[in-house]
């Protein structure tokens, strides 16, 4: 029997793009879009940049314009949290009650990891949602004496850059030797460290956080693992995310650092997953992945929706070339594909000195990744080559 209704659990990027894809595919049944935040789907990348800087308000970041959103004719359930699911009876439980589902896209995303053993206090922030961004912005508006950023990953680095842009003193702390070094390699990590230091960030790497101390319930200082003390009245923690799968424990779906799917994004008959919460084997790279990138949420949301409308024999594998960008100060970092420490490497254009380059990564004779700083055109052209299965040799020889 054809699918009559589809529940999309999670009303952020993957969820809304899934809903749009269903209508584009002329699915005219009921679509229920459930989100635990009170807001209509909005775009998260500006939260650490324009929204935090105070340049943009919430209406600038809606993901779908109101008239297009209304035309989707969704059964929109905002402020509703999924609390459980039973695959055998196909019962979805939410804070609003139980519903029997026909088909479902799981797109519940991820939430911020907190510093272990640290109790909540005023001035302590994470950044993931619009409400987080507004709370942090309000504290920044109050003119703190110093902002301590714990974690020099993408969120931490962007928050540090935005705070510097607002003229605030910033200390950024990370246990790794360089910011993003684990992802980008130590050489590029150390280049990014220089960029932060030149923009006035007090960068403390190779050191962890021992504890936070408060005055009258408001954070006052960060005590580092080497005993150093950073006086700060705002602390932003950006140490990664945890996929939101607790509500699926015991559901009959396989949960292992995300909702485990097959190569086509199917988690169970009539159930797919997409976005930060989904884990699947990407056959292009022969690797099981869970990707937290913006672009992946779109592509995977679309794929997971379309997967529900085809039978198994016609299902296509989801095999994207992952891609992300990060804007810090006047540098645009982009990466496509996969990179590893034992890859063959070739600097295709530019140089580290001018901080404008594209670096190719090869593995087993194939182009598998490209890493660019202020070289967007090159990154995208090499991304196409990765998609096309271009050999490393041909990529290195290509004139672009």
């Amino acid at each position: 029997m054809a699918t009559q209704s589809i529940h999309i659990v999670g009303a952020s990027l993957a969820g809304i793009r899934a809903a749009e894809a269903l209508r584009r595919c002329e699915f005219d049944g009921r679509i229920v879009l459930i989100g635990d935040e009170p807001h209509r789907p909005y775009d998260r990348p500006p939260l650490s940049k324009q929204v935090l800087a105070g340049d943009w308000d919430a209406d600038r970041i809606e993901l779908t314009k109101p008239e297009k959103f209304d035309a989707l004719d969704l059964d929109l359930q905002l402020g509703v949290r999924a609390t459980g699911f039973d695959l055998a009876t196909r019962t979805l439980s939410t804070s609003d009650g139980d519903d029997t589902i026909d088909a479902m896209v799981v797109a519940t995303g991820a939430r911020c990891r907190n510093l272990p053993g640290i109790e909540d206090m005023a001035g302590l922030h994470v950044l993931r949602t619009l409400d987080h961004a507004h709370a942090l912005r309000a504290d920044l508006d109050a003119g703190p004496s110093r902002v301590a950023v714990v974690g020099a990953g993408f969120i931490g680095a962007e928050v540090a850059a935005t705070c510097r842009g607002r003229g605030l003193d910033v200390t950024m702390i990370d246990p790794m030797p360089t910011p993003l070094g684990r992802v980008l390699g130590e050489e590029i990590g150390s280049l990014m460290a220089d960029v932060h230091v030149e923009h006035g960030v007090d960068l403390r790497t190779g050191v962890g956080v021992d504890r936070l101390e408060a005055n009258d319930g408001h954070v006052a200082r960060v005590v580092l693992s080497d005993g150093a003390v950073v006086e700060a009245d705002v602390v932003v923690v950006g140490i990664g995310v945890i996929p939101n799968t607790e509500w699926l424990e015991g559901s009959g779906l396989t949960i292992d650092n995300g909702v485990v799917c097959d190569a086509t994004m199917l988690a169970a008959p009539g159930v797919t997953a997409a976005g930060d919460v989904a884990r699947w084997p990407n056959v292009r790279f022969d690797e099981v992945m869970r990707i937290e990138h913006w672009d992946n949420a779109i592509e995977q949301g679309v794929h997971a929706a379309e997967r529900l409308l085809v039978d198994d024999a016609n299902a296509l594998p989801f095999e994207p070339v992952p891609w992300f960008w990060s804007d810090q100060y006047d540098r645009k970092l982009q990466m496509a594909g996969r990179i590893g420490s034992s890859d063959d490497i070739h600097l295709a254009t530019g140089s580290f000195e001018e901080r404008r380059f594209a670096q190719l990564h090869g593995r087993n004779g194939r182009l598998v990744g490209v890493l660019g700083l202020n070289r967007p055109r090159h990154v995208m052209q090499y991304k196409t080559m990765i998609q096309n299965g271009t050999s490393f040799e041909d990529a290195v020889a290509a004139e672009i």
């Binding site: 793009r17 202020n374 967007p376």
Partner: protein
């Protein structure tokens, strides 16, 4: 169909160029150039994809 790029928003991520290199081109100066402001109506689906995949939401279609 008319393609409009908000060049104040555009940060030349070149996603549109990957999808439709005949319409969008990011050149060596890192700026985006619109090669065809009026793609054929039959190209709407691909143009919608460019709109949706732009990380800066800088592209729109005026009917």
């Amino acid at each position: 169909m008319k393609i409009v790029v908000d060049f104040d928003l555009c940060e030349s991520n070149a996603v549109c160029m990957q999808i439709a290199p005949d319409v969008f081109e990011v050149r060596d100066d890192d700026f985006l150039y619109l090669l065809n402001e009026n793609p054929d109506e039959s190209d709407r689906e691909r143009m919608e994809e460019c709109v949706q995949r732009c990380p800066k939401q800088a592209i729109s279609i005026e009917d």
